[in-house]
């Protein structure tokens, strides 16, 4: 008999609600009472039953900002760059983008369904993780790689730690680094943005770039004189891959070979690279929106870029033939997307201004150290992840000085 009672009462009581954690604000019984007076007044405007007011702690108004709005705004700010990558790389890019974003959302929904946590997939954090991940992948990444990445980002890097807000490392970057180590081959095969080049065949002849040379050697590419020919060539071959400018630069440094792409190529993205690092200008456009709307503060991006510029500048000044100049380093690889969209991830970066500056500088310096002397041509992902690990300790020592410590000297009695 006691067991029977227990079952019935357990269903209704807050004991059941507390199973789902302390997150929900009002429990079902309270909500039940909340409904009744409203119904009563709706039926009879003369209000037979007294209306029950709600009480809550002050403040009673909110800014209207919400987690999901922030996430979806960042998402939207990345879309121009994502769209450009589709233009450059065609369907392959679209598939990568769709698989990563969709995969992340589906995986997050499944996780929340099976862990019986609060469903918060609509807040856009999973979609954003997926999109950011897609933007760090090579355009030709296979569906399997994309899905594995989405799984690592959403489950291993985030859900395991307790979900949004509790993950110590940037989920998208964790996933990317996992993929880079697990699938080193596919992850470093960078297709040439053929479609874009095809529109400007003169480019092929105006400048001789190392990756184009490589491509030309491997195919009868240089002989295609017209855009149409290039287009048909692009349609014929699955993919033409080449080294990214950074990899070329690294080779250049090691062996003194290879020639480099021009700055304007970097800016518009006419170079091999991952989906998100190919168009600096569209990324900056998205970042500008975020900065203007106050969704990110200037501290991290500016100090990140500053770190890169200082390191690159010093090494370039010391040995201009061996080290590339700062502008090259700013425009190539993932520095821009990293500085504005990855390092500024709220959850994994410091919240206090001084901490943000330290974090940004750290990211910039580490990026350059890895780029110049490390084993990988690109270091943004590793740099940000390493700084993510430092975030708690940075945070601890950069707390703002509270009000009330400024000494006040009493004026002399006159």
């Amino acid at each position: 008999m006691a067991a029977e009672d227990k079952e019935t009462s357990k269903n209704a009581g807050p004991g059941a609600a507390s199973d789902a954690g302390k997150r929900t604000a009002t429990d079902s019984p309270v909500e039940a009472t909340a409904d009744s007076p409203e119904e009563a007044t709706a039926d009879s405007p003369e209000e037979a039953a007294p209306q029950m007011l709600t009480v809550a702690s002050s403040p009673h108004v909110r800014s209207g900002e919400s987690t999901s709005r922030i996430m979806w705004t960042v998402f939207a700010c990345l879309l121009p760059a994502a769209g450009w990558s589709v233009y450059l790389f065609g369907m392959k890019a679209a598939i990568v983008l769709a698989t990563c974003t969709g995969g992340a959302v589906v995986i997050e929904s499944l996780v929340q369904y099976f862990t019986r946590g609060r469903t918060s997939v609509q807040d856009g954090s999973a979609a954003l993780t997926g999109l950011l991940l897609a933007l760090t992948l090579p355009p030709g990444a296979s569906v399997v790689i994309c899905l594995v990445g989405a799984f690592v980002g959403v489950v291993v890097a985030k859900a395991v730690f307790g979900g949004l807000g509790h993950n110590p490392f940037n989920p998208a970057l964790t996933a990317r680094v996992f993929l880079l180590i697990a699938f080193p081959g596919p992850m470093t095969r960078w297709p040439i943005p053929l479609q874009a080049l095809a529109d400007k065949p003169q480019k092929l002849y105006g400048q001789s770039t190392s990756w184009l040379d490589a491509a030309g050697r491997s195919l009868d590419f240089a002989n295609a004189k017209t855009g149409a020919a290039l287009h048909s060539l692009a349609a014929k071959v699955d993919v033409i891959t080449a080294a990214t400018p950074l990899a070329v630069a690294k080779e250049h440094w090691k062996r003194g070979t290879g020639e480099l792409t021009t700055y304007s190529d970097y800016f518009v993205g006419s170079m091999p690279g991952s989906l998100g690092e190919v168009s600096v200008i569209l990324l900056l456009l998205g970042a500008a929106v975020l900065l203007i709307r106050g969704y990110i503060s200037w501290h991290i991006p500016v100090s990140f870029l500053l770190g890169v510029i200082v390191m690159a500048g010093l090494t370039h000044l010391a040995n201009p033939t061996r080290y590339m100049d700062p502008i090259f380093h700013l425009l190539t690889g993932g520095v821009i997307i990293g500085a504005f969209f990855m390092a500024t991830d709220y959850v994994t970066s410091p919240t206090y201004p001084l901490g943000m500056v330290i974090f940004g500088l750290g990211c910039g310096l580490l990026t350059m150290i890895i780029r110049l002397w490390g084993g990988f041509p690109e270091g943004v992902s590793f740099a940000i992840l390493i700084m993510n690990a430092c975030t708690p300790i940075i945070e601890r020592y950069t707390r703002p000085t509270r009000y009330g410590l400024k000494p006040w000297a009493e004026p002399e009695a006159s």
């Binding site: 302390k22 997150r23 009480v55 809550a56």
Partner: protein
Amino acid sequence: MSLILPILVLSGIGAVMGAGLAVAAKFLSVEEDPRVEALMEILPSANCGACGYPGCSGYAKELVAGVDIGLCSPGGSDTVAKIADILGVEAVALVPKVALVRCAGGRNLAPDRSIYVGPSSCKAAVLVGAGPKECRWGCVGLGDCAEVCEDDAVDFTEDGLAFVRADLCIACARCVKACPRDLIQMVPADRKVHVLCSSQDPGKNTKAVCQVGCIACKLCARRDKASFVVENNSASVLYEEGSKDTPVAALVCTPGAIWDANEDDLVSWLTDPARREALKERQAELKARERAERAAKKKAAAAAKKAKADKADESGPAEPAEPGTQKGGQ
């Protein structure tokens, strides 16, 4: 050959390290009272903190140092006997206890005055305008007690009132500390009659906000002065020596705030609306019977006086009705 050398080197390193550890364990070891380990074996390992020490190991260390051996309520008398055995001291009788939520006012009987919006925690809720419940002493029902209970002994009625299932309670007293309204009390497990109200407001105020709130009418204390006390407008059972279960108190309690475990199961007592109706009838019955008894006694006394046979009757409160007759009223 190239394979053997590393194996040998690594084995050598392992052997040296192992020897070092063995030496360290021998010479740097901390003397520990063997009784502590023995005590750890028999303590219930609930690490509940009921004894007031940090975990069972903390209590075991303090036991050796000579603290009260009767503090482990989850362990009960058996554990105390074993402790006494290990320490070679005299065992003390440990009164088994259970937690009791001293409020009977669910949302149906003690309604809320507003809808609380905020973290689902009693502690947080009572900070907002002293809580959504009209009664400022009553159970808020958001489950801070259930949150800390590791034995799922705290449950809720459909009207959001917390109660403790005595069969699951291990008497760790965590819920006692968790309740922001201090509603939960550890009571002897063998006691059957309890006052389930903690309101210290004057009867008038309590009555206005709760149908089962103690209105400090003192009827219970009048029946049994040794077991019931009414202080600060609030009746409570004394539970100490000299106090006993007084089933009639549950019957005479005007608002019906006294629960007799022999009569009703706690859940049905808290939730069954018929109970309150039945109580009124039984109270009226008791009143009538006692009036009749008093009248009869008076008559007898008068008759006796008239007859000048004996000295005056023994005055004082009427004797409690016998359990048998009570049952008849049900």
